[in-house]
């Protein structure tokens, strides 16, 4: 027996008893899916007459030959009927011809064949074949093809394998469990939310929902922030159910969350906001939702750092360390008791000052700010003119209402920007 074989070498072959009696046809391979390179414990064989599906333990296989698969003495008597057990991965039903995520390359691939290691009476999954060679092997045309390319171009097409440790299967039943448990699932969870969003956007809807639901709230929030179309974000929220949807939205940056909520029916949005534990956060969301589209208010965030005149640098650092999220953290805004914007200083100013220095001393008095009803073009111009990384947004009474980051301003002007 070769050490390396392909699933193609097994599937569809006839199974024979030790005496050479034909028992049936091999349909699938079953693995518990557990080890980094999972062991194939059983083959599924369809019996010849009864057409029942039975489990053939891999240990019972004594020989893999061109003509078929030969079983050891007495194996045929011990077959048990096949019924899928929880956690089992079926190589043909779940993987062959299906799409999987290559978590290393962070993209979707279609499985053409599966590469197996066959040693010491164990059969293990090593790679999935996602290349043209896999297709040709399945079509029985690989040798012919190799001969032609070698003769014509003196060239052989290379194998394209993905190591099993990087393979995340996507079948609906599998996705949820394996994203949380498997080695590849761990790696998938470690990907940047923007990459995950790209992958998820390419999945068909039911699988999209199953994969999305498998991430924790924080990761899910990150994915939603990175999803390009608010409608798709709504679909994803719909799939996880009302309770989790609320938790995920609470984890999101308020300006991104408001974009998603704006896609919903007003009562529905209010219901989700009302269920939030953090009242302040909920109020921020309400305020952002109330902003008219196409204004500075609609692209600003409410996660910034504002301090009073008397606060010291030490206070500022403490606030920065303990605040849950500060999206626009490069500047610190100084306000009075009525939230009227008095001044601004940068984080760098604070780093260079003594820890006892009051904010009022650091703040520059002339503050460039956008008006809440300014059009995004105007905000963009201000960025171009002054070169700041973020701009405060004030209302008619000069009260500080939010902050627009350069990223948000660019994204508002060039909708394609976020897609890149």
């Amino acid at each position: 027996m070769d050490v390396f074989i392909f699933l193609t070498d097994i599937i569809g072959k006839a199974a024979y008893s030790a005496e050479g009696r034909r028992l049936g046809k091999i349909l699938d391979g079953v693995s518990d899916g557990r080890d980094p390179y999972p062991r194939i414990g059983y083959l599924i064989c369809r019996r010849r007459r009864s057409r029942k599906r039975v489990r053939v333990p891999w240990e019972a296989v004594s020989g893999l030959k061109k003509e078929g698969i030969f079983l050891g003495e007495g194996a045929a008597e011990k077959f048990e009927p096949f019924k899928r057990r929880p956690g089992e991965v079926l190589l043909v039903a779940d993987l062959w011809d299906k799409q999987v995520v290559d978590v290393n390359g962070a993209k979707l691939e279609r499985v053409n064949d599966i590469h197996l290691l066959n040693t010491e009476r164990e059969l293990r999954v090593i790679h999935v074949d996602v290349g043209v060679r896999g297709i040709l092997r399945r079509l029985n045309a690989l040798r012919l093809f190799d001969a032609v390319t070698a003769w014509l171009f003196d060239y052989t097409v290379k194998e394209r394998f993905v190591n099993w440790r990087f393979v995340q299967p996507l079948g609906e039943q599998l996705a949820a469990a394996s994203v949380q448990l498997s080695v590849a699932g761990q790696r998938l969870r470690d990907l940047h939310p923007a990459d995950l969003a790209d992958i998820i956007e390419e999945l068909p809807l039911p699988e999209r929902a199953a994969v999305f639901a498998a991430f924790d709230d924080e990761k899910a929030a990150g994915i939603l922030e990175a999803v390009n179309e608010p409608e798709m974000a709504v679909d994803l929220l719909e799939a996880v159910g009302e309770e989790r949807a609320g938790d995920i939205i609470e984890e999101m940056d308020p300006d991104e969350a408001a974009d998603v909520l704006a896609e919903l029916d007003e009562n529905q949005a209010e219901k989700l906001i009302g269920a939030m534990e953090d009242e302040e956060h909920a109020d921020d969301l309400r305020e952002l939702l109330a902003q008219e589209e196409g204004t500075a208010g609609s692209i600003m965030t409410t996660e910034y750092l504002a301090v009073k005149e008397g606060d010291t640098v030490a206070n500022v650092f403490h606030r920065l360390k303990t605040a849950e999220d500060v999206e626009a953290y490069y500047y610190v805004y100084v306000v009075d008791d009525d939230d009227v914007l008095l001044g601004v200083f940068s984080l760098r100013d604070a780093l260079r000052a003594r820890r006892t220095t009051p904010a009022a001393r650091l703040a520059s008095e002339r503050v460039v700010a956008a008006k809440i009803d300014d059009r995004p073009e105007r905000v963009f111009e201000l960025f171009g003119k002054y070169g700041f990384a973020a701009l405060p947004v004030v209302d008619d009474d000069d009260k500080l209402r939010g902050v627009v980051t350069l990223y948000d301003a660019v994204a508002a002007m060039h909708p394609d920007f976020e897609k890149e």
Partner: protein, 420 residues
């Protein structure tokens, strides 16, 4: 993969009712208008010119079948979120998929020939040589799709489809013997000879082209229509399907009332243009040429792209014009190759343009029953479709029609051999 589908609709999007319906309009209407492509116009014209009103009856069963088949595609796209070739690959494996893709690709290539033949024929009316018009059109289409903004131009193509109304006006102005027409529509009859059978198969094949099913399903998936919206969205398909057949009816009627009555052999596009003479007089050729050109360009923009797309999908290759060549080499090769081969073939000296347009549609009709058979197996799979499997009536219509069509194809082949 058991898939129990519960439409989850606890989130209500902001758009409702009629606005939703409008937002969902699109895939069906576009598919239908592309359906009246060069092959369609040629086939209907030849049908009217050679067989008068005698095949008009066929449009009634064709309309019913078209609605049933398109609705099936639509439903599969909505429920599974996957394209047709994706579903075929996952259900039937790489081998069957490969042979089917070869057949559909050959069939689509025939249709691309037809589109470029349509461009050549329409511009020949105003005296532009095909050696000029076809290469320019091919380059234009390629650039429009790969580098330009096709989506914007699509609306222009769609608007220009209003030109088909001229057939309806011409058909009425020529004052056909309505009694006779009604009798032909209501009482089916068929001359059992190779020509008439091929004509009938061509009319079926052009109205229900195999490639349209792949295109429609892909468009529905891309649009992300949800199960909860399906109720509204299917009207898009139904309206479109009826629209196609109304136009087909009047093309056949107008050609029957003019060309067939005058007993003129129809060989070129200029002959076919005679049908519009009652409306446009000596400008009939220009009107016809404009309609044919628009139809050809419209379909030439969609068909090669859709072909490259669903073949890439079947074999797991990256696809999409937003990708770079290095990311999606197979996709771009297929797309460019299809456009190039289609255009070059038409440049062969002395190639009969109208005949090419017609024969490609007969080929469509031959491949169609195979595609419908695959669709029927998929849409009756509960694991895939949950409660959205086909009902008995749709199964009977689709199965009956494809068996009948396969029978007609066999009869056509036998009859044409016997006669020789």
């Amino acid at each position: 993969m058991a898939f129990s589908f519960k439409p989850q609709t606890w989130l209500i999007p902001r758009v409702k009712g009629f606005a939703l319906l409008l937002a969902l309009l699109g895939p069906g209407i576009i598919t239908s208008n592309v359906d009246n492509d060069a092959g369609g116009i040629a086939t209907y014209s030849i049908c009217g010119a050679r067989f008068g009103y005698s095949l008009l009856w066929s449009l009634i069963p064709i309309s019913i079948l078209l609605i049933v088949v398109q609705e099936m595609c639509f439903r599969m796209g909505v429920v599974t979120g996957k394209g047709l070739s994706d579903l075929i690959r996952e259900r039937f494996g790489v081998r069957i998929t490969f042979y089917l893709m070869v057949a559909v690709f050959a069939c689509n290539l025939g249709n691309v020939f037809a589109e470029f033949a349509g461009i050549a024929a329409s511009l020949a009316i105003v005296g532009v040589s095909k050696y000029v018009s076809v290469p320019i059109a091919a380059a234009l289409v390629w650039l429009l799709v790969v580098k330009g903004n096709y989506k914007r131009v699509e609306k222009i193509f769609l608007a220009a489809c209003v030109v088909y109304v001229s057939y309806i006006i011409a058909g009425v102005m020529v004052k056909p013997p309505w009694g006779e027409v009604a009798a032909e529509v209501l009482v089916p009859r068929l001359n059992w000879n190779g020509d008439a059978l091929a004509m009938l198969i061509g009319v079926v094949g052009t109205t229900i082209a195999p490639w349209m099913q792949f295109y429609l399903q892909a468009a529905v998936v891309e649009k992300g229509v949800k199960v909860s919206e399906y109720r509204f969205a299917k009207w898009d398909v139904i309206t479109g399907s009826i629209g196609v057949n109304v136009v087909a009816f009047f093309i056949i009627l107008a050609c029957g009332a003019t060309i067939f009555v005058a007993q003129i052999p129809i060989e070129t596009a200029a002959d076919a243009a005679m049908a519009l003479r009652p409306l446009a007089g000596k400008y009939a050729s220009f009107l016809f040429g404009f309609g044919l050109l628009n139809a050809s360009l419209f379909a030439a923009s969609i068909l090669p792209l859709s072909t490259a797309f669903f073949i890439s999908e079947a074999f797991g290759w990256e696809a999409g014009v937003d990708k770079k060549f290095s990311e999606a080499p197979q996709f771009y090769s297929l797309y460019t190759g299809t456009v190039a081969v289609g255009a070059v073939a038409i440049l062969l000296p002395g190639i009969p343009l109208l005949t090419i347009m017609y024969l490609s549609q007969v080929f469509n009709g031959v491949v169609l029953p195979v595609v419908i058979a695959f669709m029927l197996i998929l849409i009756n799979d509960r694991r895939l479709m949950g409660n959205y499997v086909n009902g008995p009536i749709r199964n009977v219509v689709a199965t009956g029609a494809s068996v009948l069509l396969a029978g007609l194809c066999a009869a056509m082949v036998i009859l044409s051999i016997v006669r020789r």
